[in-house]
């Protein structure tokens, strides 16, 4: 037993060895982030919610992620993730857990392994490998950059790409690179916690995804204009 552990043992036996001497350095905290709540200017009258929340400590957190899309007043996509997040390097967290797609039907379950963090040159990276119960696999990669125009105006380009292991006609997913979204967001940080934005995003589909979408009469590529806000508390 190391000295440190023996001290802990003594403390547990009731000796007041644990000095507070001030405040707790690593209190249990929680953070709820609305990364995007937006209305999309398109024929589908689309609303998008992308949010995250965490509970925990400096190095270990329970991390929740949610993506919800509504079209014409109907919720058509709900994706939820519950992850254990562990800091593994100064700027990187390893995340592991489960993902459940409640919509579109039928629902789908995945195991998730990913890395989230800040790459050199200040690119915010969120990447995840999904392994579905059906044997489907997916890889999602997103990178975001913040250009401070002023202390409050921020121009933020973002790219997201999805890859899949095999075709899934039911969900209009083709294997390989399936779709990308490249967006440019201009936001005004009224406070560090609240920022309304406008954004333009270009969505492209590739490979069999294009064929599946066309077969359903949907467009494979689109340019969208969004208005919304990001917030955290």
């Amino acid at each position: 037993m190391t000295l440190k552990h023996s001290l802990t043992a003594i403390t547990l036996c009731g000796m007041p060895l644990m000095a507070n001497a001030g405040a707790k350095d690593d209190p249990l905290l929680s953070m709820v982030m609305v990364d995007e709540f937006s209305w999309v200017e398109n024929e589908d009258d689309t609303y998008i919610f992308e949010g995250e929340a965490w509970f925990g400590y400096d190095l270990n957190k329970l991390w929740l992620k949610a993506n919800i899309e509504r079209h014409h007043g109907d919720t058509e996509e709900i994706e939820l993730q519950a992850l254990y997040s562990k800091a593994v390097a100064p700027y990187w967290d390893f995340q592991m857990g489960v993902r459940k797609d409640l919509l579109p039907n039928p629902d789908q379950h995945w195991a998730v392994i990913g890395f989230k963090g800040l790459a050199p040159y200040f690119f915010e990276i969120d990447s995840a490998l999904f392994i579905g119960e059906s044997g489907q696999t997916g890889l999602r990669f997103s990178a975001e950059y913040e250009m401070m125009l002023t202390q409050q105006w921020v121009l933020s380009p973002e790219i997201e790409a999805n890859f899949y292991g095999k075709d899934d006609a039911e969900r209009s997913i083709g294997s390989g690179l399936s779709d990308t979204e490249i967006s440019l967001q201009l936001r005004y940080e009224v406070t560090p916690k609240f920022a309304p934005f406008i954004a333009i995003s270009r969505n492209n589909s590739y490979g069999d995804t294009v064929n599946f979408l066309r077969a359903e009469g949907e467009s494979a590529n689109s340019t969208e204009y969004k208005i919304g806000f990001r917030a955290w508390f």
């Binding site: 007041p16 405040a23 800091a87 700027y91 560090p192």
Partner: protein
Amino acid sequence: MSVFDKLLNKSFNRRKFVTGAAATSAAVGLGMSGRLFAQAADYKLPLVLSGDEVNLSIGYQTVNLTGSERTATTVNGSLPGPTLHFKEGQRIKLNVKNNLAHDASIHWHGIILPTEMDGVPGLSFDGIKPGETYEYEFDLNQSGTYWYHSHSGFQEQTGVYGALIIDAKDSDPVQADRDYVVLLSDWSDDDPNDIYANLKKMSHFYNRQERTMSDLWSEVKKKGVEQTWEDRAMWNNMRMSDRDISDVTGYTYTFLMNGATPAQNWMGLFGKDEKIRLRFINAAAMSIFDIRIPGLSMKVVATDGQNIEPVTVDEFRIGVAETYDVIVEPSADSAYTLFAQTIDRSGYACGTLTPNPEWRAEIPEMDRAPILGHRDMGMSHHGSMDHSSMQNDSMNGGSMNHSNMDHNSMDHSMHKGLGKAGMGSNNEIKHAPTEFGPHVDMRAEMPQSGLHDPGVGLRNHKKALGRKVLTYGDIYNLTPTIDRREPEREIQLHLTGNMSRYMWSMDGIKFADAEPLILTYGERVRITLVNDTMMTHPIHLHGMWSELETGEPDYIPRKHTILVQPGSKISYLVSADALGRWAYHCHLLYHMPGMMREVRVVKGKKKQPMMNHHNHHDNHD
């Protein structure tokens, strides 16, 4: 008789110890400009308490410093708390009652006293429970300018602090006609727990001076794309900001001078041909100030309560918890602004020294906000060093990739490099294995000595602005060094952290996980602090003096709080002459929970030569 003469004669006697011109709004503003009307003194100054027994009570107090009412925690209902005024040689009794709903405490900052009187919950005592009174009683064997504050939770941020002045038993080498306490602090309307949580969630939350595209554009215009790209490379690779000066800023803080906001403008009066002693105390939670009085030079006569060989400067930096006494000799035909801008230039505290209560001096513009350089990252500032050799963990690299370090050699080197007392350390810089991991984002590879560095934002002031700025290298004790022994060993301690996760530690180990640093009673040690962060940290050792090695063994100045410059190192000697358990920590309030150690002075065999921080860590393995 003019209003001025009346005030001067009625309110103050020559040589009387005063805390400032109190609420005299009736006299202020007559026939003056609208701006001065608005500044009628509406602040309440703390009382001065003396005597052998003083009753203090910590409680809640409604204050309004920003236009909104908030509940402060105060001592005897004032913010700052009462100024305690004693005489060297006195045995004083301080009965501190806690009227808060939480545990409280008072620590007598800089006073040499028995460990159970030091007021640190968990080390000195159990803290003062709600409704209870703790009776502090101790001898005052020193004189000078000190202060007191809570050592519980974040109570210091919300008002539990005040000045503690001790007159010399014998004649004071510092003679003045008038004597003012100038206590600086920072106030936020936000709950300090929320400030701490905000920093944990978004470490740059309060930084409103971040690098923008227009900064980049002006650099590109000046230096060209290629050079700019090269200059930015280190910062981009390290994912650090050269504009990261203060964690908590004027975005939430209102800076106070003797409890008065800049709008309220604290005022100190003086008469013709008077010498004024100003006792600057930095009682802020997180704010380092740069002080000057446009039009006056300042003769610095003491720091941290201890008299020094007088040195005349135009400007000096005061770290959190430090004190500086200066003498000024203003001319009676003008008012002067005491200007205390924060290190990041996000705001200032100010007040007025004036022979006439109706006069105000101009408030100067703040200087430019500092921008960090290679030196502040602990790199050679000659630019000859390859950037890639800077240690900064990437995703895969680094975390345990330090096999090139020979740990076995560390202990041996400790002996041969032990420089002479007063001259500082020659030892090699070693990073302990505990400094590697997700909790530490950088390590200074080539830390420079911080001794002659005025600090970020002050470095070019002599050349650019004609202001002489005080450095630690200018400070020599007024009287000869008392303990003339050479240090027997050296403890190298690294100040570490991860800015973006807002985690702070020493040697990569936070207080909650750290073992005490053991000193043997009677030994004389050198502590070398290495700042592996790009923040300026004021480090405070309780119970014993930190004898700063400024290069003159015969006149080593004694301090209680030492500023450690970003990416730099500094050394001081400690005589372990006080048995017991002592706190040793960064005095930035939101760094303190992690960046702290218990120093335990124990009776023992004369020497424990193997005890240094490296084998200290080996205990973990």
